[in-house]
Each structure stands twice: as structure tokens, then as C-alpha cells.
Amino acid sequence: MSGHHISTDKILLSVAGALFVLTILTVAVHYLALPHPWSIIVAMTVAVMKASLVALFFMNLYWDARFNSMLFIASILFLALLVGLSMLDTLFRIDPTPGF
């Protein structure tokens, strides 16, 4: 198993370029003021794409041992569990926070 993949300048610069473009895109979309819930869906989709580019090509997960990718995905899945199961409570209460 080679952990020593050497990226070319081309790959690194292309990924950086894509990240810049996506950033500009997401800011531009913000000014379009899309109706809810599309604004958050588009924003998060773009964010996930950017994060994936960084993880795959800057952090080298594309060429690295599969276990490291699994670690990263596992962390996100467990975070989703924390949020999801908590929201089974918070979204279904009669009164969100105790009145004061």
C-alpha cells in the first residue's frame, strides 16, 4: 500500500480553481434569494461538494487507504445520528423551550 501519492500541480490547481468557482457560485445564489427550503438545500449541496473536493484531492482520500475514508464518513454518520435522534425530540415537542 503506497501512502505516498504525489499530486501534480495540475490537479491541485484545478481543484483550487473549482473551489473558488463554487464559492463565488454559492455567494451569487445567495443574492438570488431562492424560496425556502431551496436556498438552504442549494447552499448545503455546494458546501458538501466543496468539502468533498478538499477531502478527496487535498487530503488525498481518493488515493489513500480505504479505512481512512471510512473513518471520515463514519464521523459524519454519527454526527447525523446525534442531530437526527435529538430532533426526534426537539421537533416534536408541544412547546419548543419551556416558557419563562
Binding site: 446525534l82 435522534l85 426526534l88 425530540d89 423551550t97
Partner: protein
């Protein structure tokens, strides 16, 4: 020697020979370097394990004394101890809980026995990151010092669970305590990082996942929980600190926050934390049961994978601590159902262990005695957990002594029994000495008797409505409390006896050989006490660690050293997926 076809996994040819261990190593890890500085700067996982042993023993004693004070106060329904006010009592149980959980139970097996045994069991010379290992210990001691400071600086009375808004607004040293626990959390995380990497990367040639000792599987599952859950505790405690210092208001209803949210975050860690505490104990049980039945573990993969299943399902059930908190009933229902599921993998283990013992050649030595106690007590603890998982029952039993009895059965009756089993099992390897078997059996009897006398009455009074964390109580519970207090002192006497003969054995114990129990596991194929670098050769594994049909020589193989100390690579075929190997010597 039997042969098998090599499967599609990678095969290498290795030339091996037998490396018979010395019975006793003149130069071992204990005397390799002298002086206290060599201990405080050691990078040897075995010495670090002993450093942790000193720490957790000390804090177990402190937590135990606090428990005895609590039980003494509860001797009478009204105030009993002249110097103890109700606030003082609150501080006692808070510190008892926090110290026992964070300074004793969470680190105990992984940091002491895991550190000591695991690298040897996988044929490595040390863990992957020895310096991080030492740092883990320093972080543990720093957090422990923080706790001492807290005791001196006015104490905390919030309960070990630090529920908001009380914890975010009360006086006392809450912020210091949360900071101390934050530091200890880092210790736990670094141990997890170390163990996962070590088990993945540093196994001896031939040691496939299917031959990994079950103790290591348990530590692996525990480490996964540690790295996923502990950070959430860290951020939760940080938020409580921020709430106190900046008035952030995320958990405080007066500032617009939600106190139940705190409970979600807290229990997201603290429920998996109980599995951090017990799963290594399960690993010890597997080792002890196999060795003292001289039989291979029944259902190896069932036990290995059930540890992973417990680790996973354990993350899905935290809301069962919150049935009465105002949580939405949808959430409560889902959590209750998922909690029932988590009992299944544990049940699978129990049956497999019993099947292991069936028709085995049983040696009723002290480690096995503690394991038998474990079976009985953990069974009760686990089943009462299922009772508490039932929402309708929990409404009545929540915050009563039923809960207190339940968690003491699983934590003390389960985990501490397993720890004592492991300590007695690996004691000869750690110190090269045997303890007095008769005294050990007497102590085990005292502990098991004392434990039951202390905690069985608590189930009854809990079901009758005795609330937990109460300084005074109704007359009708007096008898139960008094029985419980008597039991606590018997239990304490048992622990003192254990301390006594173990310390005595260090100075006057009979010298132990390499393998006093006749086990096939790798740690018993080296001298006692362990040599400084565990192995001078590279061990090679061709069988699983519980194969009592094979001769001992099969478990003492290693790569042949060439002149310059490097190992040669020719000779035997090792298949990575099958259990059997063709070896040419």
C-alpha cells in the same frame, strides 16, 4: 502439521523457528531502568500501564471512601453524621460519581490492562504512539489534580451528571470540574487513537483479524466508542463553562435556551461511556473463560462482532435516561425500542461464554471465580436495565434506588469483577509473582457477599419509591438502608484484603514462570515479568489464540534472525484468511 489451501489473500513465505521463552527474565521491564525519573519519562507501554494502575487504585480508594461516608449518613432516616449537612451530602455523592466514572471506570481496563497486555498479545514491541501514550497518562493526572482542586475549592453538588440550569448557574467549582473532566476526556481520546492504530498496523505476521484475541476486539470496539463519543462530552462541558462565564444561554431557559438539549448532548456521550466501561471487561471474560476451561472460545466471531454491535447500538439509545425530562413521546418510544435491542449482543456473549465452559477442563482459580461472579451479577444488572428501558416502568423507577442498584450491578458487579479477574489473571505477567490463592479466594467471597448485601436491598426500596440522592428519607426504608450500609463495609473489607495480599505478593510472593495458567495466548509465550521490548524476535502467528488442541510450541514461533538482527523472509506459507498454515522449519 495440517495444511490448507492458500486463499486469495496475500501469502508470503516466511522461515520460522521456535523461540522458547525463559521462565523468568533477569532483565525485565521493571528493572531495565532505575529511578523515579525513568518511570515518569518512560515510553514503555508496560510501565505506563503500571503508572495508570497507581492512579486508578488511588482514585478508587478515594471514591470508595466517599461511598462509605454516603452509606454511613444513610444509616438513619434523619441527619446521621454530625458534621455533614445536606449540601455536604450532595457534594459527597457528586464527587463519588464523578471520580468513580471519570477517574476510575473509564480509564481502568483500557489504560491499565489494555496498555500492558494488548501490544504483547498482537506481537508488537509497543503501541503505535508511545509518546502520546505517556501524554495520555499526564493528561489523566492533570485532570485528576483538577478534581482534587475542586474538592478543596468548595466542591460541587450538581450530581455527576451536571444537569443544567442548576450546573450553569450554581456556585461552587463547577467550571473547574468541567475543565478537569475535559482534560481527562483528551486522555481517553488519545488512548483510543493509539489502540485503533496499533491494532490495525502493528499485528505480527500471520495475525489476521480472525486470530485477534477477543480482549483486543473488545479494546478495539471500546476505542471506537471513545473517539466518537468523548468529543461530544468535551463540547458539552465547554458549553456549560461558557454558559457560566459568558451567560451564553444555550441550555438556560432564563436566557432562551433548552435544558433538555443539555441532556441530549450529555447522554450522547454518557450512554456510550458505559459501554466504554464494560466492553473491555467482556474482553477479559473471554480470555479468562478460555484459559481456565482450557477450551477454545465458542462462537469467536459472534463474540468479536457483538462487541462492535454493542458499540454501534450503544449510540442509539441515550434518550432512555430522559424519559421523564419532557422529551417528546416519539423520541422516547424510539429510544425505548432501540434500548431493548442493545441487550441482544450482550446476551449472545453470555451464552457463548457458558458454552465455552461446557465440557471444558475447569480450573477454579481466582480469575475464574471473579468471572463467575460477573456472570451472575452482570446478568441481574443487564436484565434490570431492560426493566428500566420500559417507559411505563421507568416513569416510576426513574431517579429511585432501583436505578442506583441497576448501575452498580453492571458497573461494580460487572466491570469491577472483570477488572479484578483481569488483574489476578495477568498479575504474574506484570510482576513475575503469584499472590496467595487462598487469601484471594476469601477476598473474592467477601466482595461477592458484600456486594449483594449492599445492592440487592436497593432494588427493593427503589421499587417501593425510595428516591436517589436524598439525604434524609422516610422511616419505612431504614432497615434496607442499614443492611445496605453493612454490606458496603463488607465490600470495603474485601477490597482492602485484595490490596493487602497483592502488595504483599510484590515483595514476598512466589516467583511465577512464563505461563502459570497454561494459556495459548501470545502474552504467555514470553518471560515473567515481561522483557523490556516484549520480543527480541518477530513473532509469527499460525493459529488463533484459543486453540488448545495445538501444542504450546506452535504458539512460540518467530522469524529467524539473520546476523545483523534483521529477519529473513523465506520458508513457510501463511494464508491470510484460513486458520491453518503450512510451516517449514
Amino acid at each position: 502439521m495440517a495444511t490448507a489451501e492458500a486463499s486469495s489473500g496475500s501469502t508470503k513465505k516466511l522461515q520460522v523457528r521456535r523461540y522458547k521463552p525463559e521462565e523468568r527474565a533477569e532483565k525485565n521491564y521493571l528493572n531495565a531502568e532505575k529511578g523515579i525519573w525513568s518511570w515518569l519519562t518512560t515510553l514503555d507501554h508496560k510501565r505506563i500501564g503500571l503508572l495508570y494502575l497507581a492512579g486508578i487504585s488511588l482514585f478508587f480508594a478515594v471514591g470508595g471512601i466517599l461511598a462509605l461516608l454516603v452509606r454511613m449518613e444513610l444509616w438513619t432516616p434523619g441527619p446521621t453524621l454530625g458534621f455533614l449537612t445536606a449540601d455536604g451530602y450532595n457534594q459527597l455523592f457528586t464527587l463519588h460519581g464523578a471520580i468513580m466514572i471519570f477517574l476510575f471506570l473509564v480509564p481502568s481496563v483500557p489504560a491499565v490492562l489494555g496498555n500492558f497486555v494488548m501490544p504483547i498479545q498482537i506481537g508488537a514491541k509497543d503501541v503505535a504512539f508511545p509518546r502520546l501514550n505517556l501524554m495520555s497518562w499526564y493528561l489523566y493526572m492533570a485532570g485528576a489534580l483538577g478534581t482534587i482542586y475542586v474538592i478543596i475549592a468548595g466542591g460541587i453538588d450538581t450530581g455527576w451528571t451536571f444537569y443544567t440550569p442548576y450546573s450553569s448557574s450554581t456556585g461552587g467549582a463547577v467550571t473547574a470540574m468541567t475543565f478537569g473532566v475535559f482534560i481527562i476526556g483528551f486522555s481517553s481520546i488519545l488512548t483510543g487513537v493509539n489502540f485503533i492504530t496499533t491494532i490495525h498496523k502493528m499485528r505480527a505476521p500471520g495475525l489476521t483479524w480472525g486470530k485477534l484475541p477477543l480482549f483486543c476486539w473488545g479494546l478495539y470496539a471500546t476505542s471506537i466508542i471513545q473517539i466518537l463519543a468523548t468529543p461530544v462530552l468535551a463540547i458539552t462541558l465547554l458549553l456549560v463553562g461558557m454558559e457560566r462565564i459568558l451567560g451564553i444561554g444555550i441550555f438556560d431557559p432564563a436566557l432562551g435556551g433548552d435544558p433538555v438539549l443539555y441532556q441530549h448532548f450529555f447522554w450522547f456521550y454518557s450512554h456510550p461511556a458505559v459501554y466504554i466501561m464494560i466492553v473491555p471487561g467482556f474482553g477479559i471474560v473471554s480470555e479468562v473463560v478460555s484459559t481456565f476451561s482450557k477450551k477454545t472460545v465458542f462462537g469467536y466471531w459472534a463474540i468479536a462482532l457483538s462487541s462492535l454491535a454493542i458499540a454501534f447500538i450503544g449510540f442509539l439509545v441515550w434518550g432512555h435516561h430522559m424519559f421523564t425530562s419532557g422529551q417528546a413521546s416519539l423520541a422516547s418510544t424510539v429510544f425505548s425500542f432501540l434500548t431493548f435491542l442493545v441487550g441482544i449482543p450482550t446476551g449472545i456473549k453470555m451464552f457463548n461464554w457458558l458454552a465455552t465452559m461446557h465440557k471444558g477442563s475447569i480450573a477454579l482459580k481466582t480469575p475464574l471465580l471473579y468471572v463467575l461472579g460477573f456472570f451472575f451479577l452482570f446478568l441481574i444488572g443487564g436484565l434490570t436495565g431492560i426493566v428500566l428501558a420500559t417507559i411505563a416502568l421507568d416513569i416510576h423507577l426513574h431517579d429511585t434506588y432501583y436505578v442506583v442498584a441497576h448501575f452498580h450491578f453492571v458497573m461494580v458487579g460487572g466491570m469491577v469483577m472483570a477488572l479484578l479477574a483481569g488483574l489476578h489473571y495477568w498479575w504474574p505477567k506484570m510482576f513475575g509473582k503469584m499472590y496467595n490463592e487462598t487469601l484471594a479466594k476469601i477476598a473474592a467471597g467477601l466482595i461477592l457477599l458484600g456486594f449483594n448485601v449492599t445492592f440487592l436491598p436497593q432494588f427493593v426500596m427503589g421499587a417501593q419509591g425510595m428516591p436517589r440522592r436524598y439525604y434524609n428519607y422516610l422511616e419505612q426504608f431504614t432497615y434496607y438502608h442499614q443492611v445496605s450500609t453493612v454490606g458496603a463495609f463488607i465490600l470495603g473489607a474485601g477490597f482492602l484484603l485484595v490490596l493487602g495480599y497483592l502488595v504483599h505478593s510484590l515483595f514476598r510472593g512466589k516467583k511465577a514462570g512464563a505461563n502459570p495458567w497454561g494459556s495459548r495466548a501470545m502474552e504467555w509465550q514470553i518471560a515473567s515479568p515481561a522483557p523490556p521490548h516484549n520480543f527480541e524476535h518477530t513473532p509469527v502467528v499460525i493459529h488463533g489464540p484459543y486453540d488448545y488442541h495445538r501444542p504450546m510450541e506452535d504458539f512460540q514461533l518467530g522469524l529467524i534472525q539473520s546476523e545483523n538482527g534483521h529477519s529473513e523472509h523465506q520458508g513457510a506459507e501463511i494464508a491470510s484468511d484460513t486458520d491453518e498454515v503450512k510451516a517449514e522449519e
